[in-house]
Symmetry: C2
Subunit: 343 residues, 2 copies
């Protein structure tokens, strides 16, 4: 093992090569070709864009969940055309992203025809970042909002025990003069993956992120992970939004609430078995004007009052760098990933 004082040896890999490497890992660990392709692109995109908490860091959890028989890597999603604006998918115990992929063409057809449509995914596992689910819609000129509930680790405002998941909200909108405006925010004070990374790196957290097993405030990520819990962001408002995510994903989609599944009988299982909602709007039906010109004006004004960085900008900047210079991984990670294609 290297000492903390040794320089860490790094390697670069292209986005295409990382995607292919991850695809082979998923295939080797029991997913279908379709599922491997979707998860590999999702995970490589996160690594490429600097979303490290949802990049290759997640591979271990994916594979452990597959090995435990907790998530079905071969699941074939069942898509149902319910109404002019409503598509529902039973992911059949598989991952959420392939379920979305299976319904996407139908969903976009409905959005173009009806002006708005909702995709309600249930019986699904979402273990990735949420922005990759919405950004592609904005690339096609549509506005998308997605929410996914996860697993109990957040204490509702003024409650004394965790109940909600980190329950992220992601939003994407096109703009005329640049890449789409995209945000992806946990409704918890911090994303769970970031707490895990801080624990691994031995960093303390800012105050207000979570509580320990006794329900007392703590800045130690290990205390949060070890029978402690996160708090919602923004007090009662973030808590209400987290509740809304539970209602939209579990109650609308027919998925589990964050507190309704028990993976304790499947050692190694980590992926939340819940639901996901995606609402997509054709914004040019609003008034027959170009939405993207209007959103560009908002961006111009936000820059004008001093907001340097738009939501999504940091990812786009890192993406550009990764695409021109390659994605930088430690040699240790690279070796680990390569080994995982074999066993």
């Amino acid at each position: 093992m290297s000492s903390p004082l040794d320089p860490i040896a790094m390697q670069t890999i292209s986005f295409a090569d990382l995607t292919d490497l991850l695809r082979r890992i998923f295939l080797r660990h029991g997913t279908s070709a379709e599922v491997a392709a979707v998860l590999a692109e999702n995970c490589a995109s996160a690594e490429r864009d600097g979303s490290h908490s949802h990049g290759i860091f997640r591979i271990k959890g994916y594979l452990a969940s597959l090995a435990a028989g907790w998530v079905d890597g071969q699941a074939v999603p069942k898509v149902e055309d319910v109404a002019a604006g409503f598509v529902r998918v039973d992911a059949n115990g598989g991952f959420a992203q392939p379920a979305m992929q299976a319904a996407k063409v139908l969903l976009i057809e409905k959005v173009r025809a009806a002006g708005i449509a909702i995709l309600a995914i249930r019986n699904s596992h979402h273990f990735g970042a949420l922005w990759p689910d919405v950004e592609p819609f904005a690339q096609e000129g549509l506005v998308a909002l997605s929410v996914v509930n996860s697993m109990t680790c957040v204490v509702p405002h003024q409650a004394h025990k965790p109940l909600f998941g980190t329950n992220p909200i992601a939003f994407a909108a096109p703009r005329a003069g640049g890449q789409p405006i995209v945000f992806d925010m946990a409704t918890s004070a911090m994303a769970h993956g970031d707490v895990q990374i801080a624990a691994r790196e031995g960093r303390m957290l800012p105050p207000g992120m979570g509580v320990d097993s006794a329900g007392l405030p703590t800045v130690d990520p290990k205390a949060i992970l070890n029978a402690g819990a996160l708090l919602p962001f923004g007090g009662h408002k973030g808590s209400a939004l987290s509740m809304m995510v539970e209602l939209l994903c579990a109650a609308v989609c027919g998925g589990n609430f964050s507190f309704e599944f028990d993976m304790s009988s499947k050692p190694g299982a980590q992926t939340p078995w819940t639901g996901q909602t995606i609402i997509v709007i054709d914004p040019d039906k609003g008034r027959g004007q170009a939405f993207a010109q209007r959103s560009e004006e908002l961006v111009r004004q936000m820059h004008g009052v001093g907001q340097q960085r738009m939501p999504g900008d940091r990812r786009y900047k890192q993406r550009e760098k990764s695409l021109s210079e390659g994605i930088v991984l430690t040699e240790e990670d690279m070796t680990r990933l390569q080994r995982l294609t074999q066993a």
Copy 2:
């Protein structure tokens, strides 16, 4: 004028009588009968439910805006049936609530048929609470989400000048065992009406609510109102949500952004001239199960972990009290309102 040490004389009035009193005030000040009825019910409901910042406190602002010729109290909204899930309304410079009322039957028809529908209102003034716009949908078994942008008074995260409005988000969902779950939150750290009330009552605010005219943090509501500004709630997350509200209301609906209208040439004008979006979902299309049973289970679990009060509960409790005992107003307010029916 009474001294602060005098007991304040109070009177009670029934909800029906307050609604009628406010209706006569609006009529006397130049609105159509339809507009008077809608605004009176909205405003009396807020007062009845203890939402004082959007109750009779707002009458002065409504009337000043009407007198200034800034908002058209006689406007007839133009409803357009755009697609299977899309209704748009040009409020023609009138209030947003009558515009919503004019489109509501069509909107609900679309929701029942398509599973989801969006109402995009533009060229509208919204000066009321937002929860009365969503709660009625939940009373009919539907899930509703509404956003409305307002007027520049919130500094985007890490910017140095205000740009966004208080831009509230309201959500309503039915539940089997009680009144709907309803929240209505400004994406600013505090609602503008609550800052005005604190200023009037001479109370200081908690830290983190706003900045003074120099952009420095302040707890003085007067400093915020006097060329200062509010902050978003929850840092960059609340700021991103506020931006989303601008995009959904102005860019989707074809309304003004919060910074795009100038009422300085109309002394007394106070109502924001923007847009409003309402998205309504038929939640029982998600899996053929009863949504309200599932939301009831979430409420039960939230109570189980110690969350005593559900979003909306405080309003329902006050509503019940007001309906049985009457709405309590000061004699001064009552006299003022009665005078306003005359002049």
